[in-house]
């Protein structure tokens, strides 16, 4: 690695307004997302209390109307049903008190009892319809996990607690949104120099073309990681300032045959690890297109078009689903690789973290080696 080239690349990036724009854009995006989440989280909290109060009112009405509704049945049966409804109403009332006094352990325990009663009712045929069983089973598993690990529950979708909000933002950043942003951010690093002719300044110096390519590659990867790091830090700090840090051990659902969880730390670590390899792959690809075309529109546009094409067609065509684990583009949306959703959706269990790392790494090495060959042969007009 030529340190001098590395410093020179750093200066170029530092003095480019476009890079400042991208960083500001990303930070603004995170702040707007936080405001949106915070507002939604508060609305959902209010809705939860309203919904519980409505349940209490609804049950009181049912208890009053049940003797009329069940007229003709045995008195003991009617009394048993009324008694059961009264018990449920009492539990919900206690749940409201627990929620208002911020006693989340009691809240969860009551929810567990209510959910288990619901499941029992469905199974013995005394209850019909309502919430899907899978969703109730998932909530039971999640609440058990929270209680066992003494973790305060938070809104899974819209939480603004530091670690939870970080996890939410990263689920976007580590996916197509992040990759497209990165392609726009670094996609013209080489092509712009070929277009404008500044590459001649480098290529007429006693440094090899490979060194020049290496420095661009390393800097593109590092600046992409820096962009992601800025987004991550902004998410965590802004979320923590508003709602506290939360816990990094918060459980994240995994799609397996049975309901399992990993914590935020594991989830971010696995997604982040795969995402680093995705960045390496995407940077290699944009550099290759830059060498071939010497055109920024192509070096940015073609990778994005390929991303779109594969995202659109992998799930649609069986032959692509069957070989999806061998295609590097499969692994772009890292969160759904880590939580197993994509493997299940493609019905291809080989789409996983380990294969993602291997395939993207092999693809990157092949693409990069081919690029070195082409760049060495290229005439700079």
């Amino acid at each position: 690695m030529n340190m001098n080239l590395f410093i020179f690349e750093f200066k170029k990036i530092l003095k480019q307004k476009k890079n400042i724009f991208f960083l500001s854009f990303s930070v603004t995006f995170v702040i707007l997302f936080l405001i949106l989440n915070y507002t939604t989280e508060k609305i959902r909290e209010e809705e939860r209390i309203k919904s519980l109060n409505f349940s209490v009112e609804e049950r009181s009405r049912v208890i009053k109307d049940l003797p009329k509704i069940l007229e003709g049945r045995e008195q003991t049966e009617i009394e048993a049903i009324v008694e059961s409804e009264k018990d449920e109403r009492e539990l919900i009332e206690k749940q409201i008190i627990a929620l208002e006094s911020n006693n989340w352990e009691d809240y969860l325990r009551i929810q567990l009892i209510l959910d288990q009663n619901f499941l029992k009712g469905i199974k013995d045929g005394s209850l019909f319809g309502g919430e899907p069983i899978e969703s109730v089973e998932y909530r039971i598993a999640m609440n058990n996990e929270l209680l066992q690990n003494n973790i305060e529950p938070t809104d899974e979708l819209y939480s603004t607690k530091g670690f939870n909000f970080l996890n939410s933002v990263m689920s976007y950043a580590f996916s197509y949104v992040g990759i497209i942003l990165i392609v726009f951010f670094i996609g013209d690093k080489l092509s712009r120099e070929l277009e404008k002719g500044t590459i001649k300044f480098l290529f007429t110096q006693p440094i090899s073309r490979i060194s020049a390519l290496n420095s661009k590659f390393i800097f593109a990867v590092l600046s992409s990681l820096l962009l992601i790091l800025v987004v991550a830090l902004t998410s965590f700090i802004s979320g923590s300032l508003i709602s506290g840090t939360g816990t990094i051990n918060y459980p994240i659902h995994q799609l397996n045959n049975e309901i399992t969880f990993i914590n935020i730390a594991d989830n971010l670590l696995r997604s982040g690890l795969l995402f680093i390899f995705i960045i390496i792959f995407i940077v290699s690809l944009t550099l290759l297109f830059a060498t071939i075309s010497s055109n920024s529109i192509i070096s940015i546009g073609l990778p994005i078009s390929l991303l779109g094409l594969f995202a659109f067609s992998t799930e649609r065509y069986d032959f692509l689903s069957n070989i999806a684990h061998l295609l590097p583009f499969t692994y772009i949306n890292t969160p759904i690789i880590i939580n197993g959703y994509f493997a299940e959706s493609l019905n291809n269990p080989n789409v996983n973290l380990e294969n993602g790392i291997i395939i993207t790494l092999i693809s990157s090495v092949i693409i990069y080696s081919f690029n070195i060959y082409l760049l060495n042969k290229k005439d700079i007009l």
């Binding site: 001098n4 003095k15 002719g197 500044t198 001649k200 300044f201 007429t204 090899s208 700079i380 007009l381």
Partner: protein
């Protein structure tokens, strides 16, 4: 010899851009590459600096082969190209610092160049704020900082006002005095005439004529009664450098400076009638016109 260009050929697509070009340049020599637009000057420079690959032939500097040892070869060279190669968002100083690190030069060397070119005022400003002349100075500074064995300059006078051109002229001569071998291209024939020791005329990718510049000579156009007789009389005259004839009774004599009266004395002893004598002010222009058919 320092530069050896041998049987070099370059095709772009199906067109042959450079065809069997060969020349050598000795240490400390200043050679100009002259030719109309599209004649292959810039292509040849690009081949000599590895921007374009050779299809055939070889280029060596101090016996180091471009194709076999590119990095070591480029250590010997500095190429002053057009200003589009400069990074607009970086300062002039950033460029100099980069080159100084590559060529293992010190901060003191950078300061000396800045002082010598008198660019202190704007060297820490971004290149995008520079005028064309300022950019040319920066490019020259970059080339000088490298302290190369060979300096290649592609149209270095472009965009320079007469004072700056004069300054560049003196910088080039200083570099030559320090042992640098220089190859440059230019359209400005009067500047070429002042600086170059030798001129390579290039046309359609071929070196078609080589002229040694002799600043101790003058050129005169004679119209006489008998061209043949005049040539016979002047044959072997030690003051004559070159004789060129044209279709009518015109003769172009290149003679040692201040020896016209000696020539006239010799002619007065013969029967030749001198109808007219004109001094040719721009001898290089004449050669150029003759080669390129009036194109200038």
């Amino acid at each position: 010899m320092v530069i050896l260009v041998k049987d070099v050929m370059k095709k772009i697509g199906r067109s042959v851009i450079i065809k069997d070009v060969s020349f050598t340049i000795n240490k400390g020599e200043i050679v100009a590459l002259v030719g109309p637009n599209g004649s292959g000057k810039t292509t040849l420079f690009k081949m000599m600096t590895s921007l374009l690959h050779l299809d055939e032939g070889s280029i060596k500097i101090n016996k180091i082969d471009l194709q076999r040892n590119r990095t070591e070869y480029l250590e010997q060279i500095s190429f002053m190209q057009d200003s589009s190669i400069l990074y607009q968002n970086l300062t002039g100083y950033d460029h100099l610092k980069f080159i100084s690190n590559i060529k293992r030069k010190s901060e003191k060397d950078i300061m000396e160049i800045i002082k010598e070119l008198k660019v202190e005022e704007y060297i820490h400003k971004k290149v995008k704020t520079y005028s064309l002349g300022m950019k040319q100075y920066l490019l020259l500074g970059i080339s000088m900082l490298a302290n190369p064995t060979v300096l290649l300059l592609d149209e270095p006078l472009n965009g320079l006002d007469p004072i700056s051109a004069e300054k560049l002229h003196s910088v080039i001569l200083n570099l030559r005095n320090n042992g640098t071998t220089i190859l440059f291209s230019s359209h400005n024939l009067s500047q070429v005439d002042k600086i170059a020791d030798r001129i390579l005329f290039i046309c359609k990718g071929e070196i078609i004529r080589e002229v040694y510049v002799n600043r101790e000579s003058e050129m005169y156009k004679f119209i006489v009664s008998s061209k043949k007789e005049m040539i016979d009389i002047l044959k072997g005259n030690i003051h004559i450098i070159d004789v060129q004839t044209s279709s009518n009774e015109e003769i172009h004599l290149t003679i040692k400076k201040g020896y016209l009266s000696e020539i006239l004395k010799v002619l007065s002893t013969s029967d030749i009638d001198i109808i007219k004598i004109d001094k040719s002010e721009q001898t290089l222009d004449n050669i150029y016109r003759k080669i390129y058919g009036g194109e200038l």
